[in-house]
């Protein structure tokens, strides 16, 4: 599917309207599912439409499938954050990416950009309380350890590291949701 999407993108950037329509149909299909999960069926279409308008405006800058998805992710995050803001009337902060065409995204709830790292640090510490290997694994990845060094440090066979990393990530996510009330 990626090759097809890249092909359609290339055609769309050359002015092929049908290809452009297909790209946007793919985006709509993918992000409608995401929007429904986050804001519910009733409001998903509105949020999606707002996001698609921005993607449409910036379309010429989006050369690859990965960049297209990354940019649309950011726009959706912004729109969903705005949606929560309007619905919940909470204070929000906008975090801007460095110049160069990257999207801005908002963080909902009471969380400011500066607090994000504190929350994450606390969540990883909490994770370490129950699962010390998970903490060691995530921090080891952050330190840039090679797979061999990681395997030695954490005491997991190298072939199991990805499975462990995924489980630790999911455990971290559960802690962020349950203990810190973060909305996913």
């Amino acid at each position: 599917m990626r090759k097809r999407l890249e092909h359609l993108l290339a055609l769309a950037h050359q002015g092929d309207q049908q290809a452009r329509d297909e790209v946007f149909l793919f985006l709509r299909t993918r992000f409608l599912v995401l929007a429904k999960l986050r804001v519910g069926d009733d409001d998903a279409e509105d949020v999606l439409q707002d996001a698609m308008m921005i993607v449409d405006r910036r379309f010429a800058e989006l050369a690859t499938a990965e960049h297209l998805l990354a940019f649309t992710d950011g726009v959706m995050r912004n729109k969903i954050g705005n949606f929560y803001l309007m619905r919940d009337s909470r204070r929000r902060y906008m975090v801007s990416q460095p110049e160069g065409g990257d999207p801005t995204y908002s963080i909902d709830d009471e969380l400011a950009a500066a607090e994000l790292e504190d929350v994450l640090r606390a969540a990883i510490d909490r994770l370490g309380g129950d699962r010390p290997r998970c903490r060691a694994l995530l921090l080891g990845l952050c330190e840039g350890l090679s797979m061999e060094d990681l395997s030695r440090r954490v005491g997991i066979p190298r072939s199991h590291i990805d499975d462990w990393a995924f489980r630790c990530r999911q455990a971290l996510r559960r802690i962020l949701a349950k203990d810190f009330g973060l909305r996913f």
Partner: protein
């Protein structure tokens, strides 16, 4: 929602932290374009994993390639990782795996009932194109995007462009998972493309979701798909069920069942 390929989906954490080698990263990006589950996961944890990734970038800075900095929630740098192919244990493991794979293939050839020429006995079984008449599907309301995707898929199907048909129908199915007709025609398209294992899965779903004549037709094509996958026992069971329904495909199912019985003897 589930990951469509857990073997690739398990790379998600290292992907988010920028710890994948280039080939692994390309494979994962290929995967995330088509896997809604993984895309949703990357989206969900984006802000948090970005913090960790930046920490990793800072820790490994000075040995990165000159590809520029962070560009977004999905794009990232590979960091300092020794290319896998240069690691001796990996080379040895690869050779052992290759030997094992060749042994498995040879054993499979010996037990699959191939003829002396090496061909499967079912290779020449003809898969007829299932007829599509738009009027047949007027009773199923397909609004909005699901309807548009289905229509596009069937336009491609009508002109024998099965790859495009399958692509469009897959998207229609995501929006409307209970659409048995979309699953049926997607299954037939995959069968026409020779993607027999995928066709089998899709047609099984169609059998479950459809009724009446479509149900019988789905079972018949499932039998064909199973035969093409060299699973004659399962194919025969489906064909017997089709015969018992005594519908349009009874005659074809009987002929195919007799052929299986003759080949197995």
């Amino acid at each position: 929602m589930k990951c469509t390929n857990p073997a690739l989906g398990r790379l998600i954490t290292r992907y988010e932290l920028g710890a994948l080698e280039e080939l692994e990263r390309e494979s994962f990006v290929d995967h995330i374009v088509s896997c809604e589950y993984c895309h949703n996961e990357v989206y969900s944890m984006g802000p948090f994993m970005r913090v960790l990734r930046l920490r990793r970038v800072a820790a490994t800075s000075g040995v990165l390639s000159a590809r520029g900095g962070e560009r977004g929630a999905v794009l990232h740098q590979t960091g300092r990782v020794v290319p896998m192919w240069r690691r001796t244990p990996v080379v040895i493991a690869a050779l052992l795996l290759l030997a094992l794979a060749m042994t498995t293939v040879m054993l499979r050839y010996r037990t699959s009932g191939r003829s002396a020429t090496g061909a499967l006995p079912w290779a020449d079984v003809h898969v007829p194109k299932a007829e599509y008449r738009p009027a047949d599907h007027g009773s199923l309301l397909r609004g909005g995007d699901a309807g548009a995707l289905f229509e596009r898929g069937m336009e491609a199907y009508a002109r024998d462009d099965y790859a495009t048909a399958s692509n469009q129908l897959e998207m229609a199915i995501r929006l409307r998972p209970d659409d048995g007709d979309a699953r049926f025609y997607d299954g037939v398209s995959l069968l026409m493309l020779g993607r027999n294992d995928e066709a089998t899965d899709r047609l099984r779903q169609a059998v479950r979701l459809t009724g009446g004549a479509r149900h019988e037709e789905s079972m018949y094509y499932l039998g064909l798909a199973l035969l093409k996958c060299d699973r004659p026992g399962e194919a025969r069971a489906e064909l017997v069920a089709v015969i018992e329904l005594d519908g349009t495909h009874r005659g074809s199912a009987e002929r195919l069942k007799n052929r299986i019985d003759t080949a197995v003897r």
